[in-house]
């Protein structure tokens, strides 16, 4: 059973994303192109995923109680996929992780999160260093 994110009281995450410089474009794309942002089950336990066919972002149901900052960072990642609106690639994943890291770095304050902190470290490296790791994570994705 999925639940509409905004009905669940997490619209704060999207508003937070909109309030950040690096997340504004992703938030705008979500607003304009994605019909829904929902909590629900995801493929293989992904924290969040974007389905380009249904224009739906699903955030894993276990994140219902996550902080708006963590949700905003993950929405920045998925919002980048919405914004790009083309088949996935290592370059697209890099930019999605980059948006996640930039939003997280801007809003996290004293908060820590294992995944967002790791992504932040990865994106702080040279682009080729980050892409080397991303390539190891995803099998079969083209470079561009």
């Amino acid at each position: 059973m999925t639940e509409h994110m905004e009905e669940a009281g997490s619209r704060e995450a999207l508003q937070l994303l909109e309030s950040t410089g690096p997340g504004r474009q992703a938030a705008k794309a979500i607003r304009e192109k994605a019909a829904t942002v929902r909590f629900g089950p995801t493929v293989k336990g992904a924290i969040a995923q974007y389905d380009p066919d249904s224009h739906e972002i699903t955030v894993h149901e276990s994140l219902k109680t996550a902080s708006p900052k963590v949700l905003a960072a993950h929405l920045a990642h998925e919002g980048t996929h919405v914004l790009w609106d083309r088949p996935n690639s290592i370059d697209q994943e890099y930019h999605a992780f980059k948006a996640q890291a930039e939003v997280w770095d801007q809003i996290k304050g004293e908060e820590t999160d294992t995944q967002c902190d790791w992504v932040s470290w990865m994106i702080a490296q040279r682009e080729e260093e980050a892409k080397l790791l991303i390539t190891a994570l995803y099998k079969g994705l083209p470079d561009y």
Partner: protein, 186 residues
Amino acid sequence: MEKIRGFTLFESFYPEWSFSFLHPIEWEVRESVKDDFVEVFIAGPRNRADTFTTSIAVWGRADEDQTPEMLSEDYINRHRPLPGFQTLAQVIGVLAGSEAVELEVTYEMPLPLNNVNARMTPIRERRIFLKRGGWVYELIYAATEEDYEAWLPAFQTVARTFAFREEPAEHRFYALVTPVPAQAIR
């Protein structure tokens, strides 16, 4: 170039990147060039959990200023904040007739990344930095800890056969990291 069963020759498509080496024949190779940077990425097998691809990569880029020692120190400093980070070995040597530093490190990464089932997974990396003229090169091997030893010989073959065009045979390779890495830390 010698022949080794199960390995095949890589030669850069681009004349300005005049290196070659042997790599595992069944691993997927892709070469990309952007501005003054070349990458040869060689994808090996996935780990048992299907969360990480064992890989070998060769990078080359224009860099007049950095020495292999500076590059290896920078690498250590950048990776030090990672959970579980340790330098296992750092050794100066010669590769393909050029000064080189070989580094072996370990750190932990949440795998799968951005996943509710992520587990902190030890990753082990071996990297050789070398300088030739105004260019720096990095030979990189990365695998999960559980797969590292299994595919290390493939990386050692890449390093042992790595050569610049028309390199005299006596300039090819000197062993860098000792068999017991911990003893090699300076």
